[in-house]
């Protein structure tokens, strides 16, 4: 059984009684211990759908349909209080900005310990012991002294280690990491991602990795969901998507990124236009204004997601047609 199954999740922004759909019909599942990447550009809805899983959507954002089933239980049916108890215990989150994601006026220790106390019900002293263990596990040296320090005493990389320690505090089954290394230096990024990958493997934790960096996806994820403008446009094993992208957007993304092993003199092949504005209504496929392959039907009917791709003209079939 899948650890988490998201079915037809639709999220809208509710303002002045009017709904603007930001995430439309997103479905995916993740197995225990698996690493699933959500890839997409800004506004693609990858963060929103994950916050919905955590029950942390802002008040103005509402789930208008769908189910989020974790171990057979629809999280959307739970009360606020039941959901709160699940957070931290069953699932945890690591956020993008290590510089702002820790409370600046509380010590690192306080911020780890409160989570342990709340979720494991340990005494203050025992929670402190556990916090020291956790810090050591995530590679923070001199843990006992550092517990008493404040976030501003920590570098970005160290803060992200602390965030990981907090996420791991109650040994959750699922960790959602939202762009965990975007703000970090390259060498530190590698450290953090290696650490996360190792810990998830050791603890058997499932990881949802949200990123826009295709390199990271290639190195760390087993399966990939490519998102565009609030929808999953393609889903599948990483190697499959990288080598045989079926959606024109996936292909475009891959061709947009300069690579270290590429000929410099060949220009990049960017996708034309700009990412779709979530507030702009587009009939048909939301990618069609930027798509080189779009036909008349793309302008009229939105393609359904068949579990692998949402496109009227997936690339492999086209190529077959062409060949």
């Amino acid at each position: 059984m899948a650890l988490l199954e998201v079915r037809d999740l639709t999220i809208a922004l509710r303002a002045d009684g009017e709904d603007t759909t930001l995430v439309q019909g997103v479905s995916y599942q993740i197995e225990p211990g698996e690493t699933l990447a959500l890839v997409g550009e800004s506004g693609s809805g990858k963060s929103l759908s994950s916050l919905a899983v955590m029950g942390l959507l802002a008040k103005e954002l509402v789930v208008t349909s769908g189910e989020i089933v974790m171990e057979g239980e629809n999280l959307l049916d739970l009360s606020d209080e039941e959901m709160r108890r699940r957070r931290g215990r069953d699932m945890a989150m690591v956020f993008q900005e290590p510089m702002t994601s820790l409370n600046p006026v509380l010590t690192i220790g306080a911020q780890i310990i409160e989570s342990i106390e709340e979720n494991l019900g340990l005494s203050r002293a025992a929670a402190r012991e556990r916090a020291i263990e956790l810090l050591k596990e995530v590679g923070v040296a001199d843990a006992e002294r550092r517990l008493k320090q404040y976030p501003h005493h920590f570098s970005g990389g160290m803060r992200q280690r602390v965030m990981i320690a907090i996420a791991l505090a109650a040994e959750p089954k699922l960790i959602i990491a939202d762009e965990p290394t975007t703000a970090l230096d390259v060498t530190i990024q590698a450290q953090i991602l290696d650490l996360m990958a190792r810990l998830c493997r050791e603890h058997g934790t499932a990881l949802v990795l949200i990123t826009h960096n295709l390199g990271i996806v290639a190195r760390y994820a087993q399966r990939v969901n490519v998102m565009y403008s609030g929808r999953i446009v393609e889903s599948g094993p990483a190697a499959e998507i990288y080598h045989n992208p079926r959606h024109p957007y996936s292909e475009g993304l891959l061709q947009s990124v300069p690579r270290l092993d590429q000929d410099r003199s060949v220009p990049l092949a960017p996708i034309k236009g700009s990412p779709a504005d979530p507030f702009m209504s587009i009939t048909g496929c939301r990618f069609h204004p930027r798509c080189d392959y779009a036909g008349p039907i793309c302008r009229q009917t939105a393609p359904d997601f068949d579990g692998s791709v949402a496109c009227h003209f997936p690339l492999d079939t086209q190529q077959k047609d062409a060949s």
């Binding site: 942390l56 108890r85 931290g88 215990r89 600046p104 006026v105 979720n119």
Partner: protein, 315 residues
């Protein structure tokens, strides 16, 4: 840290000396004759001249200034020109505990109202509770404090007769007399003050509630109470402290009016009466104390930052 405080204190002294100098000369620019005020209808020409001579007001301004400044540096602020020539230091020392008591109580009352009100209206943004708090904040802000003071007197002193209408009792006379005399004026000042702080806490809280670390805290599954009181409130307090520091000015100007209504001779009233009578030494002394208050409260605010916000360390 100590070096920082010392440096700030030296700066404070310099500011105060500059203020003292400025006030000395500005006061002389203001029309009005202190001797005339003093003699009212009683004075004879000889008395006028004799007093002018005695007070040195016949001397050229720079000499008057030099004398006053020199004495001030030695801690002698001179004597009131008016009435029985009370030493300015004595007048100020008597007024200070009254204003401090009033300011302290007003502040406590302001916080007692503002903190819950601000938090409630921030966490229940755009609900009935928020609107109610906003409404009262608006009323509190727009109601002149002397008017509120009079209302309070009419209700609590004249009609209900729960509290004395006027006067002041020092703390040495007992906590109950002290409090019973100060509670109405403190409410009169504190209400307007609390409206400002509540609005400030509200907007500051709203901002903090959006902060990344609040999301982190929520992701740990912490209960709302801890989220608000441990994570949001201390952070929300940081910008509020600045306002409190600045609003000290408001407290003093509020005190001027309210002290008058409740017949409490605090700093505000010393200042106003000094100005009315063109009592130069008193005004100079009072301004010096008020500016010291400002400078020190600003320093205090800065140091409070360091207490609340560990990122700030002064060197």
């Amino acid at each position: 840290m100590i070096a920082y405080i010392l440096r700030r204190l030296i700066g404070a002294v310099l500011v105060m000396l500059a203020v003292a100098t400025l006030v000395f000369f500005m006061l002389r620019l203001v029309p009005g004759d202190p001797i005339a005020a003093m003699l009212a209808d009683a004075g004879s020409e000889e008395a006028r001249e004799a007093i002018t001579r005695k007070l040195g007001l016949d001397q050229p301004l720079p000499i008057q200034f030099g004398r006053w400044f020199g004495n001030m540096l030695q801690g002698d602020l001179g004597a009131s020109i008016y009435g029985s020539n009370q030493p300015v230091t004595k007048i100020l020392l008597e007024a200070l505990p009254r204003t401090m008591s009033l300011a302290f109580l007003s502040f406590i009352i302001a916080l007692l109202i503002a903190v819950p009100a601000g938090i409630i209206s921030a966490t229940r943004k755009n609900t009935a509770a928020d609107t109610t708090v906003s409404f009262f904040a608006f009323v509190g802000l727009s109601m002149p404090d002397f008017w509120l003071a009079i209302l309070l007197i009419i209700v609590f002193a004249a009609n209900l007769q729960w509290l004395p209408a006027i006067g002041y009792q020092p703390l040495s006379a007992g906590v109950i007399p002290w409090l019973s005399h100060l509670i109405l004026p403190a409410i009169a000042i504190g209400t307007g003050f609390s409206a400002i702080i509540a609005r400030m806490i509200r907007s500051s809280m709203l901002e903090v509630l959006q902060a990344d670390y609040m999301r982190t805290a929520a992701s740990k599954g912490l209960p709302t109470r801890i989220l608000l009181l441990r994570h949001a409130f201390p952070n929300a307090l940081i910008p509020v402290i600045t306002v409190i520091g600045i609003a000290f000015a408001l407290l003093i100007s509020g005190a001027v009016v309210v002290e008058n209504v409740f017949a409490i001779k605090g700093l505000g009233r010393v200042l106003i009466q000094g100005i009315q009578n063109r009592d130069y030494p008193v005004v100079q002394g009072a301004v010096l104390v008020v500016s010291a208050f400002f400078v020190l409260s600003n320093l205090l605010v800065d140091l409070l930052y360091a207490v609340i916000d560990p990122r700030i360390r002064y060197s």
